[in-house]
């Protein structure tokens, strides 16, 4: 229990640091977002509009501590201000929608990648030096050598454009109404298939090699040797002795990957015009939408923290050594 408590304390501090940095960075930047926006309109805005913008962005002349307090109070109410690119939508609403798409797409992709990659890695190690081990890992490594966006464009070009097997972009077609019915779900899956495949193909090798290498190490351990000598079934040795122990290092990378779900699929989302957070972030940067950018950054960093909390909890369940106590 102490392990979890001390971890939670650490995360609380990290969370506070993230929120504070998110407050400080725009205020420490040279110039301010309001004047940048003002300049973009090349004199079409009146000077008092600029003052209004500054107010809206929370950039007033109040003392820094007062601003900080107001910022925290607003955050607590889920108030991130209004988006400029999607004016007059509130930032929170815009992010919410992007967040759902991103987590839906990348979440599924990362899960598939982890399960398939880890499984392939474990099996390759179990049959080390065999035919499977000779073919599958190198093939997967070859795929991973392509950058995300390149793989995405190749898939889009051949499977989408040339052969017309999948739609070219967006999360669902223009003629289907969102709802919980067969037609819409089919539409969702066919739109999500290519981006999902891209992420899986590009990230599979990481999981495969981490698992294969730790698994080979674990299989040389005395307790696995003893399990063989005791005559346990091969299945039981594979699952409870070799794989269970080899999974622990993969779990740490899984936490990192969960965090990157939110930000990492940016390029894939851009290629497929998938309306997730990555796509939103690009739009926010292009239109200098500071409130939206700030909101997305906060979202990404908080998700990384949350994912790590989840992994620590999982570690607690899977590895008895972290539970402490003699």
């Amino acid at each position: 229990m102490n392990f979890l408590l001390s971890k939670m304390g650490l995360y609380a501090v990290a969370g506070w640091a993230v929120i504070t940095l998110n407050f400080l960075i725009p205020r420490l930047m040279p110039g301010d977002p309001a004047s940048a926006l003002f300049a973009r309109f090349k004199g079409k805005l009146k000077p008092d509009a600029m003052e209004a913008l500054r107010q809206q962005l929370g950039l007033n002349d109040a003392p820094l501590l007062k601003q900080y307090w107001d910022y925290i109070a607003q955050l607590a109410q889920g108030e991130f201000g209004l988006s400029i690119a999607f004016h007059p939508e509130p930032v929170l609403g815009v992010i919410k929608i992007g967040f759902i798409w991103t987590v839906g797409l990348s979440g599924v992709a990362v899960l598939i990648s982890v399960v398939v990659g880890t499984g392939l890695g474990a099996y390759a190690a179990w049959r080390q030096g065999g035919r499977f081990d000779a073919i599958v890992p190198p093939a997967v490594a070859f795929l991973a050598a392509f950058p995300y966006f390149f793989l995405a464009m190749i898939l889009l070009f051949f499977l989408g454009l040339e052969w017309g097997l999948f739609p070219l972009g967006m999360a669902y077609g223009p003629y289907s109404a969102p709802g919980f019915n067969g037609g819409f779900i089919y539409d969702l899956v066919s739109h999500g298939f290519l981006p999902c495949l891209t992420i899986v193909l590009a990230s599979l090798s990481g999981w495969l090699f981490v698992m294969r290498n730790t698994m080979i190490g674990v299989m040389g351990d005395e307790y696995v040797c003893l399990a063989h000598a005791k005559g346990l079934s091969r299945r039981r040795i594979f699952v409870a002795y070799a794989m269970r122990n080899a999974l622990l290092p993969s779990l740490t990378s899984f936490g990192m990957a969960l965090g990157f779900i939110v930000s990492g699929a940016l390029l894939t989302e851009v290629v497929f015009s998938y309306p997730g957070l990555g796509y939103l972030l690009l739009k926010a940067i292009l239109s200098q939408d500071y409130p939206l950018m700030q909101g997305i950054f906060l979202m990404i960093t908080l998700s990384v923290l949350l994912a790590n909390i989840l992994v620590d909890a999982l570690y607690y369940v899977l590895d008895p050594r972290t539970r402490g106590g003699r």
Binding site: G220, D221, E222, Y223, C225, L226, A227, H228, A229, K230, G231, L232, S233, R236, A240, Y241, R244, N245, L318, D319, P320, R321, G325, R326
Partner: protein
């Protein structure tokens, strides 16, 4: 009657420059109910012999010749399933390192039950589990513990209890107490001697600790560089060691005793 007969056993390790011989055609036997000590310095091939007898040698090690007869059947030519049936029912082994031979993510009870399910097709009853723990002088709470929660001595006793579950006729102990301090070591060895008399199994005890062997073995085999250089009873070895290496070993022991470190009998 000979329980175990090892004849001309040779073990090689594959290296890039061809096989390197670690054990050079050794012969010895173990009788029913006997305690045999196998002594020698590190690298003399004694652990390799134990693994070869159990046929759990890991590559690059491989058996290159000889036979290992257990109750008249050659272990080295047994099929995989015969081998599985033989291990733990006829001979079992306690591994060298107490720290690494238990699965860190399973509680101790599960490691007993795994064995019972695989080999007996059923789980052990709580009373049976308690009986095995009583053999090695452990409390019941050990069952729900994980390996990291136990001391080295407790883990090694768990290892011994695990080896006894299927009542083997021969117990191979590969340096079972090397990593433990002298007091714990003595406690475990006393318990082992008592158990051996109670259940009447044979022991092949591998260690570099000659004083321990002198005190508890019926016969001692001394190995050096993959060869048996001498084999005799403890008293005969003490009286007139023939091989220079044995003389050296005994002399080094004498040196310690004269230094007032306690007699070897006391150390068991």
């Amino acid at each position: 009657m000979n329980l175990l007969t090892v004849r001309g056993l040779s073990v090689d390790y594959a290296t890039p420059n061809g096989p390197a011989r670690a054990v050079h055609g050794i012969d010895f036997h173990v009788n029913q109910g006997e305690v045999i000590g196998l002594a020698g310095e590190s690298g003399s091939g004694k652990s390799t012999v134990a693994k070869a007898i159990m046929r759990i040698l890991q590559p690059p090690g491989f058996i290159s010749g000889g036979s290992v007869l257990l109750n008249g059947r050659d272990v080295l030519t047994m099929s995989r399933s015969d081998l599985r049936d033989m291990r733990w029912t006829e001979m079992a082994m306690v591994f060298q390192s107490a720290l690494d031979s238990l699965n860190p993510v399973l509680p101790i009870e599960a490691q007993f039950q795994d064995l019972a399910i695989a080999r007996l097709g059923r789980r052990l009853a709580p009373a049976q589990l308690r009986e095995f723990l009583r053999f090695v002088d452990l409390e019941n709470r050990v069952l729900s513990s994980y390996p990291h929660q136990l001391s080295g001595g407790m883990r090694q006793r768990v290892g011994i209890a695990l080896a006894l579950v299927l009542k083997p006729k021969l117990l191979i102990l590969d340096e079972p107490t090397t990593a433990l301090d002298v007091v714990v070591q003595r406690h475990i060895l006393r318990g082992l001697q008592r158990l051996q008399k109670e259940l009447n199994f044979s022991i092949l005890f591998i260690t570099h600790d000659l004083p321990v062997l002198l005190a508890m073995s019926d016969r001692i085999i001394i190995m050096k560089d993959g060869l048996v250089c001498e084999a005799d009873t403890p008293s005969a070895l003490r009286r007139r060691p023939e091989h220079p290496y044995t003389q050296q070993l005994l002399a080094s022991m004498q040196l310690l005793e004269d230094g007032g470190d306690g007699s070897p009998e006391e150390r068991t």
